[in-house]
Subunit: 256 residues, 2 copies
């Protein structure tokens, strides 16, 4: 049975999509079967895997909104062992469309149920908000992985994110855990990063991963080539950090 | 009568809040009366001006959702000539709450109407989405200022943003213009920035501001001191860039 991760943080631009793509790729490189679900209307994860607009005709929208069959919406990527359910621009209207519907929060959980036997890990890339789409991801997930940019505004939103996870645990998903917090775009020369890192480790202890993702220009170049950084430049510090992160995650999961 | 700007981009972390705070401060430094409206449930603009959680008891929520009086929700800041309407965490539930209500899109425009005579400029900081809150900002605004990080994913979302502005222009606000696109977090040593800048200037021409905001660590340090970078470190390249941006904007507005 697949373990499902929601990759979430309502703060924008903290590395959610970059983590979904590259952690997913690093896990697939360990011979694990991985599915990435792009739940962000922006569709950056779909782009990061090289999908054109035309490749997204089948996507997460129908299974989520109309309860359609999801298996037919899974597409292969250039990464061996990693498949994707693409996003759709229409997702941005989903919150209002389902405002009065029943079981709003459990739609993604039902949609993913038939796929759980086919994968080892399912990573859900969330939009920068704590609305309907992210709440669906929290209800469908076993745990939440929180990418956190080591900046002041990003730190500010953490307590609100933790309270929301607690609310979902009580109302819809009693097993929901926090998989961990991963510091991203970390610049060793910048005191602010150290300050934020110390604050977060004091506040959350070993929930914060030891592995830190450094700011690395190869990471931001890779999406324009439609490839994860592990395929674009395997030797870069960014690719190596995501390989290390996958290793630490697997150790933590075994240790549990 | 105040000119109202929506500072918007659905891509997260591109410098919307940083631009609202620092462009607002630079305009106030030119002896103009400025109001910043924090329409993002994260409340980063309120934090960036040094407001604690306790200072936000009166905020944009009631005027927006219940049609309450907005004048009493305006608070002063440390910046002479610049006031703020703080954000509220409850804003994140607004979209569903008003899903069936009448005149959903014109709530902010009605709420701001009584203030138009008191200010020269009103800047509305938007959340990273094209949902109810940002659509309200587009309907209330005279023009949209688009901060754009010079990265590949940020470029991808631009056409969707432009289409949404066009839709609002047709349905709710025929006068809505694009004030301009401002390149942010620009790193001259990074070829990707030049590539994206060339692409955007080719696609949009002189809608793109000449002034570029460089990546500058003093900008990201300022929020932890509750001050705009112009007050935190006036001599920094970041502060100087926002002063230049205010100058270019005023020239463009006079030229119109
Ligand atoms: N470690 C890194 N080093 C350099 N650039 C990075 C790094 N991680 C992410 N980026 C770049 O920073 C930008 C933001 O990252 P990304 O889009 O993954 O964040 P996000 O949280 O998914 O954003 P959103 O909130 O819009 O969904 C992207 O342009 C990405 O390429
Ligand atoms: N020019 C700059 N140089 C360095 N850091 C910057 C610059 N502009 C913004 N930042 C930092 O980058 C992060 C993102 O900026 P900001 O929060 O203003 O973006 P945003 O678009 O408002 O994000 P969101 O989508 O979450 O609302 C913040 O931590 C901010 O301090
Ligand atoms: Mg993303
Ligand atoms: Mg912001």
């Amino acid at each position: 049975r697949a373990r499902v991760f929601a990759i979430a943080n309502q703060k924008g631009g903290v590395g959610k999509t970059t983590t979904a793509i590259n952690l997913g790729t690093a896990l697939a490189a360990c011979d694990l079967k991985v599915l990435v679900v792009d739940l962000d209307p922006q569709g950056n994860a779909s782009t990061g895997f090289g999908l054109t607009r035309g490749d997204r005709k089948r996507n997460i929208y129908k299974p989520l909104i109309e309860g359609g069959e999801v298996t037919g919406c899974v597409v292969p990527t250039h990464v061996p062992g990693l498949s994707l359910v693409p996003s759709a621009v229409d997702l941005s209207g989903a919150e209002v469309e389902l405002a009065q519907a029943d079981e709003r929060e459990t739609r993604l959980r039902s949609a993913l149920a038939p796929l759980l036997g086919d994968y080892d890990y399912i990573l859900v890339d969330c939009p920068p908000a704590l609305g309907f789409l992210t709440l669906n991801a929290f209800t469908a997930a076993d745990s939440v992985l929180v990418p956190l940019q080591a900046e002041f505004y990003a730190l500010e939103g953490l307590s609100h994110l933790m309270r929301t996870i607690e609310r979902v645990r009580r109302a819809f998903n009693p097993n929901l855990e926090i998989q961990g917090v991963v510091l991203t775009m970390y610049d060793k020369r910048n005191n602010l990063c150290d300050m934020v890192a110390n604050d977060v480790r004091e506040y959350l202890g070993d929930v914060v991963y030891d592995t830190v993702i450094p700011r690395n220009v190869r990471i931001s170049e890779a999406p324009s080539h439609g490839k994860p950084v592990l395929l674009y430049d395997m030797k870069s510090t960014g690719a190596q950090a995501y390989i290390k992160l996958a290793g630490e995650m697997l150790r933590r999961l075994r240790g549990q």
